[in-house]
């Protein structure tokens, strides 16, 4: 009796819809580092949006009487040599960092996807041309190129975003090309062609969704990369022009007074490092979660 009723109850108990996304999320959830990273990234995003409003001081406000102070209740992360409140500076920096990281990565991504798809699908001369361009980008020291572009176009938000974006597309293009090449001659495309699908349709409904997973992972790995480049520009003095705050500027400025005022280094560098790690954990988690062969 009990044996007979068991299977029916379990069969009716789980009519749960299994969507691609739902399953990806279930796989993602198993990796606690990835979840922790995601929490931090979301927090970072929220601060990026509302940071300027919740900051207790303006990023330009100086308090000379309380310059170079350690953490107090008034300035919880301390103040720098001009009396800027470090906590407010960090809140503003988050916004700048996000704008550049997402903007630059988006530029790289769009350029990379278009060139990669084109090269992979067309093959022949187009492929040759794009891949030699990619080779050139890889061979050329990108950071040097960024410096040249920033020197040429100025140290504002737009030029830096553009400079980092335009030099970072080669990796995306190469990845997407290889993925497309692998699929172009595969059975899936052959079957679709045999049933009358047009090239455009195959690109849109077959190739693009199937490379999307890998691209998303590459994108998640690309964002911390671009953040690092942006900070690197500040360290050599070619980052965002002060007084616009950025993590790179703060860390570079704090380096000289490391022994005297170490809190100026601890807070920005610590938060920046955790952010980079958080993005990497998210990317890692996505890589596992989006793998269609990853099971349930």
């Amino acid at each position: 009796m009990a044996v007979a009723s068991m299977p029916t109850s379990s069969a009716t108990a789980s009519p749960r819809r299994r969507s691609q996304l739902g399953m990806a999320w279930r796989r993602y959830r198993r990796n606690w580092l990835a979840v922790a990273g995601l929490v931090w990234v979301i927090l970072f995003l929220i601060i990026g949006i509302i940071g300027p409003w919740i900051a207790p001081y303006s990023y330009q406000a100086t308090d000379f009487l309380n310059a170079n102070q350690g953490p107090t209740w008034q300035h919880i992360f301390g103040t720098d040599n001009l009396g800027h409140d470090m906590f407010s500076e960090i809140l503003w920096s988050v916004q700048n960092a996000l704008e550049i990281a997402f903007g630059a990565t988006l530029i790289s991504f769009v350029v990379g996807v278009i060139l990669g798809l084109w090269a992979g699908l067309k093959g022949g001369a187009a492929d040759m041309f794009v891949m030699r361009l990619v080779d050139f980008m890889f061979a050329f020291p990108t950071f040097f190129m960024d410096l040249i572009l920033v020197t040429k176009f100025g140290r504002g938000m737009g030029p830096i975003l553009f400079a980092i974006g335009i030099t970072g597309w080669a990796g995306y293009a190469r990845l997407i090309r290889s993925l497309v090449l692998g699929m172009r001659n595969g059975e899936m495309v052959e079957a679709a062609t045999a049933l009358g699908a047009t090239q455009w349709h195959i690109m849109r409904r077959y190739l693009f969704p199937n490379v999307m997973n890998s691209m998303l992972v590459a994108l998640a790995f690309g964002i911390p990369g671009d953040l690092t480049v942006m900070a690197g520009l500040s360290v050599v003095g070619m980052g965002l022009r002060p007084p616009l705050p950025s993590f790179g500027n703060m860390i570079a400025a704090a380096g000289g007074n490391m022994l005297g005022y170490p809190w100026l280094m601890y807070f920005p560098a610590g938060i920046f490092a955790i952010t980079l790690l958080a993005f990497l954990f998210v990317a890692d988690g996505l890589q596992e979660a989006l793998n269609p062969k990853g099971g349930f």
């Binding site: 059975e187 062609t193 045999a194 269609p292």
Partner: protein, 328 residues
């Protein structure tokens, strides 16, 4: 045959490689009548898939049709523009491929994939296409079609995926269904189920079927007419009855002697000696001569033409009559 659905004549296909040219198909002719099932049989590399893919303009890489004609309902397929060919593929001619595991798009629900063809060919409205998809899923034997509609390919077994592929191929009610090794990637019991399904669909809709296989058992159980290919040429072609009773080509006899059948443990299997060769130049003598037990001097010098040796029975062998009497 005057009113054939598909007539292929003297088809030649080559693949150009960096160092040489592979002559994959060398003058193949065949025709498929409405409602007829043609089986194309041959070893790997005998050009059976390539000859059919050439007709549909589905050759990959450097493959090129150099000569010949392929008329489908009077339309010359080999001269059509890509756009026109796309209209015919999937609508008038359905295709099933060998490996259902890799032929479906993993990012699309299977219902959407079946509907896709009908929508691109303007065969039905979205609502009608949905209803037909549910009917098709039922017809190809997928239980609970309304909920399975929303599943992704990885949630199906190999046999089930092949059923989905079949549903996709017949969605627009094509007049001709081409099945390129439809059962090769499946295990034996599933093979029979899929074949039985194809049989049922064929009888119901009166469509013509071309089935490409290297499995003699599949071909003899399923086809009205069998064509044996070797080295990109037709070796023998005959209606099933005639083919089984009076095989006239040594290669056909060799193929038959090398099949394992259930309950014949006392019979000695006789593999055909040697392997197929890469055709880096078009054959000038009988391509099978090096592996043939009946070979004579003349066979090394002359290229046997495909000739008639009975009602509707074509064979390309100089010694066909002797072979036939020897086998009989």
């Amino acid at each position: 045959m005057a009113d054939a659905l598909l007539t292929v004549e003297n088809l030649h296909t080559e693949f150009t490689r960096q160092e040489d040219v592979i002559y994959a198909v060398n003058g193949v002719s065949f025709s498929v009548a409405p409602g007829e099932t043609l089986g194309i049989v041959g070893e790997s590399g005998s050009g059976k898939s390539v000859s059919v893919l050439s007709v549909l303009g589905l050759l990959r890489g450097s493959g090129k049709v150099t000569q010949g004609s392929a008329k489908f309902e009077g339309t010359e397929l080999l001269k059509l523009k890509r756009r026109q060919l796309e209209d015919i593929r999937g609508r008038d001619i359905g295709v099933i491929f060998q490996d259902p595991m890799t032929s479906l798009n993993p990012t699309m629900r299977i219902g959407d994939q079946i509907m896709e063809g009908m929508l691109t060919h303007h065969y039905a409205s979205r609502k009608a296409a949905y209803n037909r998809t549910i009917d098709l899923l039922t017809e190809v034997g997928i239980p609970e079609p309304t909920s399975r509609f929303r599943n992704y390919p990885f949630e199906f077994s190999g046999g089930m995926r092949q059923r989905v592929m079949i549903a996709m191929a017949i969605a627009c009610e094509p007049q001709l269904l081409i099945a390129d090794e439809p059962t090769t990637a499946l295990d034996v019991t599933v093979q029979m189920q899929v074949l039985a399904l194809l049989q049922k669909l064929r009888q119901k809709s009166r469509m013509s079927v071309v089935i490409i296989t290297h499995d003699f058992g599949v071909a003899t159980n399923f086809c009205d007419r069998i064509m044996v290919m070797y080295a990109g040429k037709v070796m023998e072609s005959a209606p099933l009855e005639e083919f089984l009773k009076r095989p006239a080509h040594p290669y056909t006899i060799g193929l038959k002697a090398s099949i394992i059948e259930v309950g014949q443990s006392n019979r000695v299997l006789q593999p055909i000696p040697g392997t197929t060769q890469q055709l880096t130049e078009p054959p000038r003598a009988c391509p099978f001569v090096d592996r043939c037990a009946f070979a004579q001097d003349a066979c090394h010098e002359e290229l046997p033409e495909l000739r008639s040796i009975g009602s509707d029975h074509l064979v390309a062998c100089l010694r066909a009559e002797e072979v036939m009497s020897h086998a009989g």
